[in-house]
Amino acid sequence: MRYLFRTDYAQDIRLAKHGGHLFWYGALLLVLALAPWLLPEYWLAQLTFVLIYGVVGLGLMVLAGFTGLFSLGHAAFLGVGAYTQAVLTNAGLPFPIALACAAGLSAAAGVVVGLPALRVKGIYLGMATLSFGFIIEEVFARWERVTGGNAGLSVRSPEMFGWAVDTATEFYALCLVITVACTLLILNLLRAPTGRAFVAIRDSEISAQSMGIHLAYYKTLSFAISAALAGVGGALYAHNLRFLSPDQFNLLQSIDLLLMVVIGGLGSIHGVFLGAIFLITMPQLISASKGWLPMVIADAPGLKSVIYGLALVLFVLFEPMGMYGRWLKLRTYLQLFPFYRKGLFKRQKSFQKSDRLK
């Protein structure tokens, strides 16, 4: 068990709380930086995907996990970013400018969706974002002059300052840099007044308002930041897949993204990446385990959705904090060994809270 002896107020908001953090995150970063030499090409590609989904998940986590607004149309922001990046890169713009435009346009879309969010709550907000998602998907399919419609749109590889990023390793490095930058950005945001305001809004809108937090401003800001990150993720997604079609950004994608943050653990940055790992490795595990299952089950097209559904139900029922919550318990168990008590993380039994009066 580690006891932190606080001698300074700045210690409370320091990113790395103690030497252990520095050591382990440094080690993680080192491993990630060396991954191209450590991993076979296939797994490097999967790792790239994890990083990309991590960026998108960071965005959704800010919105759903920290501000408490949930979006059922996040794939639309991903799509806006991806298509912007694709169109601009194909027009010959360098990568950083295209990326900035993708993030900016997504953020603008986020603000537009965020506007009804100021008036509606809970499920109505879900409906608004769901509707927005459907409409944007239809726009991608119908605006053929720009997006190529259902026939799809191929994307050139990114290029900047005379450096063409066309191998898997180089692209991985690019993704890694962007992911680390985004993560640091969000971590910093969350320890700044803005992030505190988000969390306050999540916990209680009324008390946040009475503490002088401008609800409309912060909710819109949350939507904008979330959409911008989804846009950045989308831009990388476009380059990674090199081919875009509207059905990549449908409702199932939005639900996958939500599933990622819920299974990872709502309200934690670790959860984003754990969820992304779950989302990427699960299909691999499923196809690897097909040999073990009876034919009827293994061949069913719905196998993936059953497993995702089961994981979702079990996590919500038994581990609402997600994979990160499970890890916290494990860590505490090891730290306190042999004094861990069963009820240490016992969920507080709460009475039904009414959303209608919130």
């Binding site: 009324i206 409702l251 009827v296 196998l303 089961l310 979702l312 919500v316 029922l317």
Partner: protein
């Protein structure tokens, strides 16, 4: 004439939306959860009807009753096993839970060998019949949908208005704690509400089946029922039906008069406009929290 024809087709489709939306509203009013599994329950109902009619060889009326009973039991079980333990958790978790249930149901149906992945025809006795009424060509399937919805709504109205059970349900949906103090078994009622919602979903499934065929993805129509529920106001039972009718008619008309692509998103455009103008829907109550 064509206009009337389109409106009638829209009403029939809208009745289906309305019936699914009715399930959302029932559950929302009772437990404040939004069930994303409602569309998939409807699909399961259609498959149940199919199983009763083709494999068990039941006559039509018996299979309808058997399906409704089976689905109601399933709803009751679902409430008891997965919903009740997490009541009081954030609404968001419960929404994710119902999404998970929907995924499981849809995936499990595709695992039935030889049946789950195919498209089936439900052999209802009124299949492919047409009435001609003064220049209007009326599809009997659509008429049955409209008539059954009207009948069901009357039944529900009577239930909620005149029966002890319905009044208790109303009371517990208005204020659970007060209802509990008055001696109403709130938890058991919540189970019954889920059963009722699943039963309504089964009826919707059987009504929809002759029109769109029975397949594993027919539950996706539930996504169109959300706009219906929102337009009507999520907390109003008549609102669900009215919302469904509005969405159905708008969709049917925009499919004919507007360019391609509008039919699929018409419902969502309507709901976005609705949310901006009247965020609580047509019949929803507006409540503010007082501190």
């Amino acid at each position: 004439m064509q206009f009337v024809q389109l409106v009638i087709a829209g009403i029939a489709q809208g009745c289906i939306y309305g019936l699914i939306a009715l399930g959302f509203v029932l559950i929302y009013k009772a437990t404040e959860t939004v069930s994303f599994a409602q569309g998939d329950l409807m699909m399961l109902g259609a498959f149940g009807g199919l199983a009763c009619m083709t494999f068990l060889g039941f006559p039509f009326w018996l299979s309808v009753l058997a399906t409704i009973a089976a689905m109601a039991a399933l709803g009751l079980a679902a409430e008891r096993v997965v919903i009740r333990p997490i009541l009081g958790q954030p609404a968001f978790s419960i929404v994710m839970l119902t999404i998970g249930i929907g995924y499981i149901v849809r995936g499990a149906v595709t695992m039935i060998p030889g049946i789950g992945t195919e498209t089936h025809l439900l052999p209802v006795p009124y299949k492919d019949q047409i009435w001609n009424a003064g220049g209007l060509v009326l599809n009997v399937e659509q008429m049955v949908v409209i008539a059954s919805t009207a009948l069901l709504c009357t039944g529900l109205f009577v239930l909620f208005r005149y029966s002890k059970l319905g009044i208790a349900m109303q009371a517990s949906s208005q204020n659970q704690l007060a209802a509990y103090y008055m001696g109403i078994p709130v938890q058991r009622l919540n189970g019954l509400v889920w059963a009722l919602a699943a039963g309504v979903a089964a009826i919707a499934g059987i009504l929809l089946a002759p029109i769109t065929f029975v397949h594993a993805n027919m539950g996706l129509i539930g996504l169109k029922a959300f706009p219906a529920a929102v337009v009507g106001g999520f907390s109003s039972l008549p609102g669900a039906i009215v919302g469904g009718l509005i969405i159905g008619i708008v969709e049917s008309l925009s499919g004919f008069y507007l360019p391609d692509g509008f039919k699929d998103v018409a419902a969502y455009i309507v709901v976005l406009i609705m949310l901006m103008l009247k965020p609580n829907g047509l019949f929803g109550e507006k409540v503010r929290k007082k501190v």
